[in-house]
């Protein structure tokens, strides 16, 4: 069993998953990273969506090397990590390489071993995992002690998020999931959705969830994505920015 060596380093390692794609996982990861940077932390974001990587697009960076070069060509992981304009480091992945979506188990172990070598150099590491519940997604979630699940009120988002929680809980006995509710009208709606999800998990899995926060629906969010900007960096005091900061705070307090 190879998991992160956190006990000795004090680094906080968080995986962000959603089950369904398009619910704001990458947006949340980038903006949380930016919040941690503002709090004076050294932050690394790892794009773990090895099939359809897009963190680099969101951040408007065009990396020469990617995680795939580390795995297949033995490049040093330090050569691949790039600094982004948002103040955190990014370990990018490349998109559309067919074989990457279903990585061999031993390659996953290689990635984990390589990540372990750089963990001590950061205060916060965020893993942006892919959509779905493939083995790659599960393994990255297993690697990180903090598992954040993003969901919105769409029925498919609810069921897919639940599927991730259920599989992680039953296969790996993961006991703590932090929930972020995205695209809500207000805090009340977020609390209602969380209570609903929490109730289903308690009922069927005997597993209470941990509420981390919500992000309200706001037109500035899709606009920031189109502009390839990190919203909280440009407008830290806007409502979404405050939401992200509150979630970052909750992640920092969680499991500590």
């Amino acid at each position: 069993m190879m998991n992160s060596r956190l006990g000795t380093t004090g680094t906080s390692l968080t995986a962000v998953a959603s089950g369904k794609g398009g619910v704001g996982k990458t947006f949340l990861t980038a903006n949380l990273a930016s919040c941690f940077v503002s709090a004076g932390k050294k932050v690394l974001v790892v794009d773990c969506d090895l099939g359809l990587a897009n963190m680099d697009i969101l951040l408007g960076v065009a990396p020469d090397l990617t995680l795939q070069d580390v795995i297949f060509d033995g490049r040093d992981i330090r050569d691949v990590i790039v600094a982004t304009g948002a103040g955190f480091d990014l370990l990018p992945a490349s998109s559309g390489v067919k074989e990457m979506g279903q990585l061999m188990y031993e390659k996953l172990q290689t990635i984990k071993a390589t990540l372990n070598t750089i963990i001590p150099e950061y205060d916060e590491i965020l893993l942006d995992t892919g959509a779905g519940i493939s083995e790659v997604v599960l393994q990255f979630n297993l690697f990180a002690p903090k598992n954040v699940i993003v969901l919105n009120k769409e029925p498919t988002s609810m069921t897919d998020a639940y599927a991730v929680i259920k599989v992680m809980h039953q296969r790996f006995q993961t006991k703590s999931f932090g929930i972020v509710i995205n695209s809500v009208r207000d805090e009340n709606e977020a609390h209602r959705l969380f209570a609903h999800m929490d109730g289903v998990c308690k009922n069927f899995l005997s597993l209470p969830l941990h509420y981390l926060g919500h992000i309200i629906r706001d037109d500035t969010v899709p606009q920031s994505v189109v502009n390839q900007r990190v919203l909280v960096q440009d407008a830290p005091e806007c409502p979404v920015g405050l939401n992200c900061r509150s979630i970052a705070q909750a992640i920092g307090d969680w499991l500590n």
Binding site: M1, M104, Y105, E106, L108, E135, K153, P155, M158, T159, Y162, A163, K166, V167, Q170, R171, E189, R192, L193, H196, M197, G199, V200, N203, F204
Partner: protein
């Protein structure tokens, strides 16, 4: 080609590629009247080998035989020397063999080689593999009651009954004596136990006129990259063997396994009930 003589030929093999007797040879033997000299002839069931003994052969016949065959013995001493050489070669070949003579299953040598490969494959792909050890219950009693020949026949029958219940990718081996091992690539513990139950049921219909119905004891172990990645091959075999031993201790005719079975009922994806609960009244707007 005179078909009347086609069942008589030379030693050891005088066939051309199309399966016909060597026509040149046959014509020589016929002309010399050699066919009459055949004292005894034989052929193996697969028709690959013709054996023939002759009292006397003319020089011309000998020359023709030598041209057609790489093995013509003319003196009794030759025969003894050749027999000794053949037996020696036979033993050597047997030592290289990968199958068990009695049952036709893979032998221990193949088993060890294949298990090593499957364990490496598991570490590469992350997919668990499983190992099943099967021991025939009270086989000694069968041997003692009916003799070793009947015992052997029964061993073969039992192995065939078991093998019929396996999947094409499972690899069944005779582990030794009345013990069998099945390597199951890309199979987790739950699936292996399910198949072990099938095997256990398959032999109960075999009845070698025993007082009680015939049965097997089965031990199952799983090699799983996250938990058993540190095990070497002998430890993996031992874990299945220990499970088999427990099955014997618990009164035979049963299955024991090493490890924890996942809750099969809940391993499936999101159930209808869960979906209904997730989607019901989530928007109290």
């Amino acid at each position: 080609m005179p078909k009347t003589h086609s069942h008589k030929a030379v030693y050891p093999l005088a066939r051309s590629n199309d399966g016909q007797l060597h026509s040149d040879l046959l014509s020589v033997l016929e002309k010399a009247g050699g066919v009459k000299a055949w004292k005894q002839g034989g052929t193996d069931p697969h028709g690959e080998l013709f054996i023939l003994f002759a009292d006397s052969l003319s020089e011309r016949e000998k020359a023709a035989l030598k041209a057609a065959s790489d093995l013509v013995l003319t003196a009794p001493e030759d025969l003894t020397t050749k027999l000794a050489a053949l037996e020696k070669e036979n033993r050597h070949l047997r030592s290289l063999s990968l199958t068990d003579e009695l049952t036709g299953l893979y032998n221990y040598r193949f088993f060890a080689r294949q298990l090593d490969i499957e364990m490496a494959r598991t570490m590469r792909t992350g997919q668990a593999c499983a190992l099943i050890m099967i021991d025939l219950d009270d086989f000694k009693q069968i041997n003692d009651t009916f003799g070793h020949d009947r015992g052997n026949t029964f061993l073969v029958q039992a192995s065939q009954a078991l093998a019929r219940k396996l999947r094409p990718t499972d690899i069944m081996c005779r582990y030794g004596g009345d013990e069998f091992a099945v390597i199951m690539p890309a199979t987790d513990l739950a699936d292996a136990v399910r198949i072990a139950e099938r095997l256990n049921a398959a032999v109960s219909i075999l009845s070698p006129e025993l007082e009680k119905h015939f049965s097997v004891s089965i031990g199952v172990a799983e090699y799983e990259p996250e938990r058993s990645g540190e095990l070497d091959m002998n430890q993996f075999i031992r874990s299945a063997d220990k499970a088999l031993y427990r099955a014997k201790e618990r009164g035979k005719d049963g299955i024991c396994y090493d490890g924890r079975l996942p809750n099969v009922d809940t391993m499936t994806s999101v159930s209808c009930d869960e979906k209904t609960a997730l989607l019901g009244s989530r928007n109290d707007e």
